[in-house]
């Protein structure tokens, strides 16, 4: 009772301190509004203004029609080059694609000789190269089929493959970008805010002050954990409601309440992590450097940016211990696929366990380092 009372009042103090810290406020607003908006809208289409060069040795009606098929926004207007130029241009990175139309292409096609086009792809530009090459194949095939329609009977494939994307039928990248950005903002801010709250006390010498009062380290730590988690929850709710669903019009399938329940568990773990990191660092700059080394791996390897299953097994295994991994899984399940608690309970359980361990570790370390802080 006494303890809860202290935690509450210390927590209120944390909130008041935060209100007077303009840098942190700007960071919160930036992370939950501009950053999400730009991340969602700035994500370019997979294929946008891709640079392509065409070596046209055929100079036929068909080859001209093919050249005319490449135009913005998918492709830049093709550069017409010679075979000799092709390698140098690709080496210099001027073109991602170089399409070679051999001489006699149209003639051979009409004669039924099955001529061969050559498409060179700069595979160091992976995503563009991979998607672009299938677009080019489709464009060229379509043009050739159109051209041939007058000459040959249509052959419909006997077996048709009907592809549908679930949960995001248009594969709109902004849906993904927006929600994932909210998730990484939650992780980043919860660590930064709690860590900064502790370091601020340490730099101002107020920790010492607290310790001579009838409050325990547990109460001090809990007050920071709960106050900062509350701030992040409120900000992320605002962001999800007004920025993601409102401004960006991203549909959310599942239960937002369930998502925030998961976020609360996640925050329990990350705020504890913030305290832990802050006990390792002596000053704000040191904390910043540590953050850089911790946050980036957490975010990049959590599965929020690239699929987990394409990471090495060892990495997948180690990342099981990170709260982000489970939070990303449950967020994707709830927000995109509309999953319920019956589906995501294992993640909830993992988060609770990780949070409990991190909180205990952080508290032990906090107690131990208090002597050096004072």
């Amino acid at each position: 009772m006494r303890s809860a009372h202290n935690i509450l009042h210390l927590g209120i103090k944390e909130l008041r301190s935060l209100v007077r810290d303009p840098i942190m406020l700007v960071l919160i607003v930036y992370a939950f509004t501009f950053s999400i908006y730009t991340a969602a809208t700035a994500m370019p289409e997979t294929l946008h203004k891709a640079p392509i060069a065409i070596v046209d040795e055929d100079r036929s009606a068909l080859s001209n029609r093919i050249i005319d098929d490449f135009y913005p926004p998918y492709f830049l207007p093709p550069a017409l080059i010679t075979t000799a130029e092709m390698d140098a241009r690709m080496d210099a990175g001027l073109d991602t694609f170089a399409l070679h139309i051999p001489s006699g292409f149209q003639r051979d096609l009409l004669a039924g000789h099955s001529p061969v086009l050559q498409l060179n792809v700069d595979a160091t530009r992976m995503s563009q190269g991979f998607t672009g090459s299938s677009y080019i194949q489709a464009i060229v095939s379509g043009e050739v089929n159109d051209f041939m329609r007058g000459y040959r009977a249509e052959t419909a494939p006997a077996v048709d493959l009907v592809l549908r994307a679930r949960f995001n039928p248009e594969l709109d990248k902004s849906w993904f970008g927006a929600v994932m950005e909210v998730i990484s903002a939650i992780t980043m801010l919860s660590i930064v805010l709690t860590g900064a709250a502790l370091i601020r006390e340490r730099e101002h010498g107020t920790v010492e002050h607290l310790l001579v009062m009838p409050v325990t380290p547990f109460e001090i730590m809990s007050s920071k954990v709960f106050a900062m988690a509350l701030v992040v929850l409120a900000a992320s709710w605002f962001s999800l409601t007004f920025i993601v669903r409102g401004l960006l019009a991203v549909p959310i399938e599942g239960s937002v309440a369930l998502f925030f329940a998961g976020a609360t568990l996640h925050l329990f773990a990350t705020t504890s992590m913030g305290i832990f990191l802050a006990t390792l660092a002596r000053t704000m700059p040191q904390f910043g450097l540590l953050l850089l080394m911790f946050l980036l791996p957490l975010q990049v390897l959590s599965g929020g940016m690239t699929p987990r299953e394409s990471m090495p097994d060892a990495v997948q295994f180690i990342m099981q211990a990170a709260p982000n991994t489970h939070f990303v899984m449950l967020s994707q399940a709830i927000l995109y696929r509309g999953a319920g608690l019956d589906v995501v309970w294992p993640q909830f359980l993992s988060l609770a366990a990780i949070g409990a361990v991190l909180f205990t570790l952080a508290l032990a370390r906090f107690r131990k380092t208090l002597a050096t802080m004072a």
Partner: protein, 927 residues
Amino acid sequence: MSEAGDVIASPAAAPVVRLSAVGLAYGKVRALDSVTLEVPAGCMVGVIGPDGVGKSSLFSLVAGARAIQTGRVEVLGGDMADAQHRRTVCPRIAYMPQGLGKNLYPTLSVFENVDFFGRLFGHGRRERERRINELLNATGLAPFADRPAGKLSGGMKQKLGLCCALIHDPDLLILDEPTTGVDPLSRRQFWELVERIRANRPGMSVLVATAYMEEAARFDWLVAMDDGRVLATGTPHDLLARTETRTLEEAFIALLPEAQREGYQPVAILPLKAGEETEVAIEARDLTMRFGSFTAVDHVSFRIRKGEIFGFLGSNGCGKTTTMKMLTGLLPASEGQAWLFGHPLDPHDIDTRRRVGYMTQSFSLYGELTVRQNLVLHARLFGIPSARIEPRVQEMAEHFGLTEMMDDLPAVLPLGERQRLSLAVAMIHGPEMLILDEPTSGVDPVARDAFWRILIDLARRDNVTIFISTHFMNEAERCDRISLMHAGQVLVSDTPAAIIEKRGARNLEEAFISHLEEAVAKNPQAPPAAGAPRLPQEQAAPAAANLAPRRQGFSWRRLFSYTRRESLELRRDPIRLTLASLGSVMLMLVLGYGISMDVEDLAFAVLDQDQTTLSRDYALNLAGSRYFIEHPPIRNHAELDQRMRAGEISLAIEIPPGFARDIARGTPVQIGAWIDGAMPMRAETVRGYVQGMHQHWLTAKAREAYGSEATAGLFSIETRFRYNPEVTSLPAMVPAVIPLLLMLIPAILSALSVVREKELGSIVNLYVTPVTRLEFLLGKQIPYIALAMINFLLLTALAVSLFGVPLKGSFLALAAAALLYVIAATAFGLLMSAFVRSQVAALFGTALLTILPAVQFSGLIDPVSTLEGVGALIGQIYPTTHFVTIARGTFSKGLGFMDLRASFVPLLIAVPVLIGLGAALLRKQER
């Protein structure tokens, strides 16, 4: 001011410093208000006044460390607003800023610190070593030459500061509060040292600020300052005569404007009532505190009676604070015992805490909470019932004179009022005992006396036990009993009068010094007393010998002195060093494995409603590839939905009933494929794969049915994935991640290196020494370039070995480009540091301005040509773009210098532009 001429029997004709109508403001706060002053040359001039009256601002203007806002400052016969004059005279001025060892480098040893300054002033090695030896011997620091400056005692730090200031034989020595917080013996030694140096260099003028009035009494000429104005000038005798007072402290109070003196009355000391011997509030027996091998407090014992004012007198770092922290339970004692109110001290005993009030050395309340909020918060935490909080806060506010500022933030209050607030907070729960750690340092005499009246009132009327520490002698004299502390030990405990009497001294200071000398004689570890220090002979030698190296213009020696110092500091900072050496390797591993666009081992399942050999064959076709892994079959649509929602499968294939039959008949059939679209990039790739596999299956079936000629289509496209035939992520990403990391980490580290100096105060060495901005920047840049190149080699080795990405092209071309690139990256960091003031801003600002352009606009994922607008513009000029081209060219495309020459040009341009901008924007003076 006008009396300057008649009070001083000065031999020199022209004043050394002449100020006319000098004003200085920090934002809205006026630090100096139209100061006009002529400082006579060749003598010891003291500036007196409490903290925050403008002494330090005045000194920084005279030293040329701060830019002049209004008025005219003339030093050594020239205008300090003129950069040319500043350059000429800066080797003749030595400036020691306020704060113990503010312009020293704490991780550097004593010798390395002095050596650094010697190099800055361009002395050769032999000359330098001779001077350093002489100075260290003269100051008694020679035995501690290898000790890091940060581990010296306050007195030793100040002596070291003096060594650094004197290395270049200045004509004007500016010392800003050199003895504040230093024990009286060291203080006396310090002044003896200055006296001897002056005796050898009679022409040297010394300008000193001090808060100790006793010290000021010995100076030749004084300037009394208050609130940014000069109150009076003259010899000490003159000031006393004019105000008809006995001491300078009284004289100063008399000189204050009427309004400030209002309500002032001398502190009346009420003696402690006898006969309460039995009640002991605090008892300590053999309290000892060790930090590693260092003993901060060494077997300290004392007893404090209830209602007594007990004082701890000693220098900074003598163990006062540590002892107090042990008594409050903040630090567990290594040895010994203590009792509070008769109970053994238990740090976890919450109830004892309610009986004690503690006030820390520096102001440590919440600056973000108002006065009222601070009081209420503490009342709540001490568990005062809600109903009683409001009256109690009101009572405290009235008692401590805070009623008018209840809704102000502590930051806007004057120091004296903040101290009263701290005391009010410490008293909020009505404790029986107060532990006050140097509560009055920096407070002006009037406010200090007011504070003491409150203390005496609390002790005598409310019978509160007060345990207070101080380094002011006159405050110690007000205590009932005091302990003299030095180097962790209590030298003596008694009433002040008895201590003076026993030593046969004239006053407490002399008694203290006599005790200190005794202690030092016993303990050879402490700095030796001013026994027989050999004075620098050379000090008196003609200055001509030293003028030679004071060349203007660019100096490699000064540049390398910064390089040397930066490398030493970096080597001794574990966190920065770890980031610098291992940070990029660790991040490379993370990014190499994390930014993977390969889609492999995708989970899929089949809802097979046909259950024929043919339908199973279709599923096997998928399962056989390296991209897909088959999970148990799906039984119905509900299950399909549920398993996709759970994210268990990324792809579901639905084969309709009658699939085999319809194919045999030639009736069109539809196979359904559901892809998990939650991650669109992955979904796109899955779609590509599924389509490919489907085609492949159809062709294979056709071949089975009609023979090979059936497969020939109209035409075919032969796709060659060049440079990375497997189309896997690692060869594509690894060469591009190297440029990203070689930008991020070197830029952050170099940005921090300058801003750190701004924060810690050692940037003042750039302001007041002959080092130029370019020397400073390049000197600091070199260690980071070297580190970045080592990182480059590590990353390349990692790419080739662990990630198995072969380096097909010219290593030399790659290395040359890397060198240019890291020079640009570190120069970018230095450019950033010209703008920001705090390390945190440098860190986040640099991270933001490097990560975003390097990741988004430099062709790491999408080629620059596909960008639009500002992004495209940034991408074209940002160095990372060009280094990415070179890295991919050499790694994946097997190219060399000649093929990539076009990409070298932008890097060659970026280097001088960034360095030049950094040098141009860095300031040589504080504003």
